[in-house]
């Protein structure tokens, strides 16, 4: 891409595809579904991003990396955070979900309509990303990050994380 000329939306999306999520480096911010919109005016690009979780500590790092990636192509970027509509794991593509699984994180299933208080209505067991067994159990609703839960596979004895459907 030639610096300082107005980029096409496809150019900008291509650059954003290179920006990795710092917590899940196997996915780009586009695959994660958190880039909601882009607007281009000359060499100025506005990127709308929505956090996966409202308290996600990676947001500042993501914003910094997005601005840096676009700046390296001569573009002036501004990141705007939007909260509505709320992010859902349904915005992750099937390709992205398969990448997660290959990385060792059980991908989220489709979200389902659940009662407001979801107590004691646990979803079906999460398939193990390593051996595929459904003989798994939840060890903790919260894993290394708020968006993941901690699971253990009773077939291959491997602990793993599950990206929760939200």
């Amino acid at each position: 891409m030639v610096a300082r000329s107005a980029p096409s939306p496809a150019d900008v999306w291509e650059i954003l595809e290179e920006v990795r999520d710092p917590e899940v480096p196997v996915l780009s911010v586009v695959e994660l579904g958190i880039v909601r919109d882009i607007a281009i005016e000359g060499d100025h690009v506005t990127v709308q991003i929505t956090p996966t979780y409202s308290g996600c500590p990676a947001m500042h790092e993501i914003e910094r990396t997005v601005v840096g990636a676009l700046a390296s192509r001569g573009l002036v970027a501004e990141v705007r955070t939007v909260f509505s509509p709320a992010w859902t794991t349904d915005w992750m593509s099937d390709v992205a979900k398969e990448k997660l699984r290959a990385y060792g994180i059980a991908p989220p299933g489709p979200t389902t309509e659940q009662p407001l208080v979801p107590l004691m209505r646990r979803a079906a067991p999460v398939p193990c990303p390593f051996c595929g067994s459904r003989e798994t159990e939840t060890r903790s609703e919260f894993g290394s990050t708020a968006c993941k839960s901690l699971q253990v596979c009773n077939a291959c004895r491997q602990p793993f994380e599950h990206f929760k459907a939200i």
């Binding site: 409202s54 909260f83 509505s84 509509p85 709320a86 407001l116 979801p118 107590l119 004691m120 609703e141």
Partner: protein, 164 residues
């Protein structure tokens, strides 16, 4: 409240998260689009907090004799702090009148019914004590808050101007 007892931690989180969940659920339908959007997002996350603490409550309450006794003691101890969850202040009343906030008193029945259902599963007795502690909304807290704040501030206070 003092930190360190897992029963206290779980009961406190359940009582509070359940309240937050009903307030946020109503806030999704308030007259301020941005606030409603943030509430819609927070509802998703708060449901996890309710599920996490609620399932622990059932596990502990319906667990061993000791876990039952200890979590019941936590519920008895923390009960007096729940009254204030349903009290608003003057600013809140004005916002409620304008359609931008949720009257905390309006979620009391839903909260109470859900709490009783989970307490039943956990074989716990919901206290009937009527005396409630007040003052938190006016900035009057128990002595434990000072210790908690000191603990949370110690790194920043020990290293003024530090960045990371």
């Amino acid at each position: 409240m003092p930190n360190g007892d897992f029963g206290d931690t779980i009961v406190r989180q359940f009582l509070f998260s359940l309240h937050a969940l009903f307030v946020l659920d109503a806030l999704q339908r308030c007259g301020h689009p941005e606030l409603a959007g943030i509430a819609a997002k927070a509802v998703k996350e708060t449901r996890y907090h309710v599920r996490h603490s609620g399932e622990w409550l059932v596990r502990l309450g319906d667990g061993t004799e000791e876990s039952h006794e200890r979590v019941q003691r936590s519920l008895d101890r923390l009960w007096r702090y729940t009254g204030e969850l349903f009290e608003g202040d003057e600013v809140e009343s004005r916002l409620v009148a304008q359609g931008y906030a949720v009257d905390p008193a309006s979620v009391r029945d839903a909260w109470s019914a859900q709490l009783r259902e989970v307490a039943g599963l956990a074989t716990l007795t919901v206290p009937t004590e009527v005396h409630m502690q007040r003052g938190g909304r006016d900035g009057r807290h128990t002595e434990h808050l000072g210790h908690l704040l000191a603990e949370m501030q110690i790194v920043a206070r020990s290293h003024p101007g530090a960045t990371w």
